[in-house]
């Protein structure tokens, strides 16, 4: 009496024959329980698996039959698969030939020592990466120096293109960001300074914080997110498609062609963007001081000119090319580190942004110490 073990396949046991009928394919196999089938055949001492009634088997079905066979064999029994059509027999033999080899060693378990080793390896590779990054910096600077000697090597078109890309196109976002920062500073500053009746000092507050720190720092962070990531993605996808290797074989130097124009463009444009940020931050601050404190633009201007040392502006501008160098070098370096797969492109792009913002802030801190020591 056939017993349905699943919607599309039936099982019956008689005269030491286990008979399967119906369809045995990948959709069915996952829902079958070999133990139940074996339990059925157990008492009867089955020695034949009759599959003449199976209308359809696929690779998964063939594997299932072989798996039954193997399970019975491990219990010391044996079973013969009978009734397969020529095509089915061929499929079963092909699957049998491709079963897992028995001698695969199980993957070794991780011990605490392994974790320790992994930690060591990671530390070492981080150290190696810093050395590589510095040597990449050296290589780029050397190439730039070479270009200063032989200006013909400069890819002018590419430089101009990148200047537009990282500079001109970033003007709206940078200007808006700085304007809002100026507004926020004036607003927050006025609330505090009003308590002391020192409203007019809001001008000093805004001027010093924007010119010296915030204007250039926030611009650098925006540019790192905008252009640093774009550098990594562009160079990384060229790396992925072996374009960089192709360049090398054609005798073209990727540093000259790809890295130098980008880094130079950033070094030219970041100070310009910083200047724009300074101006629009001051405008935002002046506007808010006028509305909130009644400090008229004329008063704002005269106090700005008379009371703010021009060195505050100088300090901000001196930092700009260094920030640009950090962003450009890290962006290009991470692009060069992209491997063959799409995932590494994404990973490197985010590393590039995080690392360059972090390094910009570290650099800013170092500059603060430096300027404090030299007394500007």
């Amino acid at each position: 009496m056939p017993k349905s073990i699943n919607g599309s396949v039936q099982l019956s046991v008689a005269d030491a024959r286990l008979t399967l009928t119906g369809r045995l394919d990948i959709g069915v196999v996952g829902r079958l329980d070999p133990h139940a089938i074996l339990a059925q055949g157990q008492g009867q001492g089955v020695s034949v698996l009759d599959i003449a009634g199976l209308s359809q088997i696929d690779t998964a079905g063939a594997w299932f039959l072989l798996d039954l066979e193997r399970r019975i064999a491990t219990r010391g029994g044996s079973i013969a698969i009978e009734g397969a059509s020529a095509v089915q027999a061929q499929l079963i033999e092909r699957v049998r030939a491709n079963l897992a080899p028995d001698d695969i060693p199980p993957p070794p378990r991780k011990s605490p020592v392994d974790h320790l080793e992994e930690f060591g390896r990671k530390t070492a590779s981080a150290g190696r990466k810093s050395v590589e990054l510095i040597s990449f910096l050296g290589q780029t600077v050397a190439t730039i120096a070479g270009i200063v000697v032989h200006p013909k090597r400069l890819r002018l078109t590419s430089l101009v293109h990148h200047c537009q890309e990282v500079g001109l196109n970033a003007v709206p976002i940078v200007a808006l960001m700085a304007f809002l920062i100026g507004v926020v500073l004036a607003f927050q500053g006025s609330a505090q300074l009003r308590q002391f009746g020192a409203e007019v000092f809001v001008v000093d507050l805004i001027a010093i914080s924007i010119l010296r720190e915030l204007g250039i720092l926030l611009t650098a962070i925006i540019v790192a997110g905008r252009s640093g990531s774009a550098f990594t993605a562009a160079i990384g996808s060229m790396k992925m498609r072996e374009e960089i290797d192709a360049m090398r074989t054609l005798g073209l130097d990727p540093v000259t062609i790809l890295v130098v124009p980008r880094v130079l463009a950033l070094m030219i444009m970041l100070p310009a963007l910083g200047l724009i940020a300074d101006v629009s931050g001051l405008v935002g601050g002046a506007l808010m001081s006028w509305i909130e404190l009644g400090v008229s633009p004329a008063v704002f201007q005269s106090r700005l000119v008379s009371n703010t040392d021009v060195w505050h502006f100088g300090v901000g501008m001196i930092k700009a090319p260094f920030f640009a160098l950090i962003i450009g070098i890290i962006g290009c370096y991470e692009g060069m580190m992209v491997g063959g797969d799409a995932e590494s492109l994404g990973r490197m792009t985010s590393t590039s942004v995080v690392l360059s913002i972090f390094m910009v802030i570290v650099m800013d801190a170092l500059f603060s110490i430096f300027f404090a020591v030299v007394g500007v």
Binding site: T59, W63, I104, G340
Partner: protein, 264 residues
Amino acid sequence: MAAADQDRIIRVRGLVTRFGSHVVHDGLDLDVRRGEIIGVVGGSGTGKSVLLRAIVGLLKPAEGRIEVFGQSVRDTSDAEYRALRRRWGVMFQDGALFSSLTVRQNVEAPMREQLQLAPDLRETLAAIKVRMVGLPENAQDKYPSELSGGMRKRAGFARAIALDPEIVFLDEPTAGLDPIGAAAFDILIKQLQNALGLTVFLVTHDLDSLHAICDRVAVLADRRVLAVGTMADMLEVDHPWVREYFHGPRARAALASSVTEGAA
């Protein structure tokens, strides 16, 4: 005629595809019979890959009707299309393996998407497929970027047959392989076609493959299928490109080698 209709697993009628003003196919007709290996040839840029993409529904033709298993590929509900898609496998021209997955995981991907299988079982079945296409055991856990071009093709083929489809579409599977590797790939296709009862839609430039494994050949030229038939039929076709292709020095060499192999 019902039996003959049943036999036609793919039926393309009056297909027109264009990109902007560039017409790739203009009134293309093609039938593929169940269980055959059909070779699709044509010069570079004649639209072989585009035809393949249109048949599997990745590209919307401007006009025409495409039926697979007697069902239109375009005018179907999502559920019907999903069911249809399960019955074919595609191997793209450049492999198109998922680069963030290992070879075995690539083969598991369609199983994971379409079926509820226990992870162990899925892994076992995927591993069998990877071995079936002749990849070494240590390739199972490698990433595509760590494989050679030929191995990537094999892995792509393994993913195409992951669900034991009824039709596999192969876009230039032997391009870029060494002659021995290409011949081995041909044999592999033939053997798996026998074992799994596949219908194979094979885009190729490889005259040796055409001789060795194709039951019929379809020639794409002048924006349509110019001729369909056996290799012997192709020698009779009177069209400059077809004559050049099947009578050229490479064709003669391939023919000669296939004849001597047949005799041996």
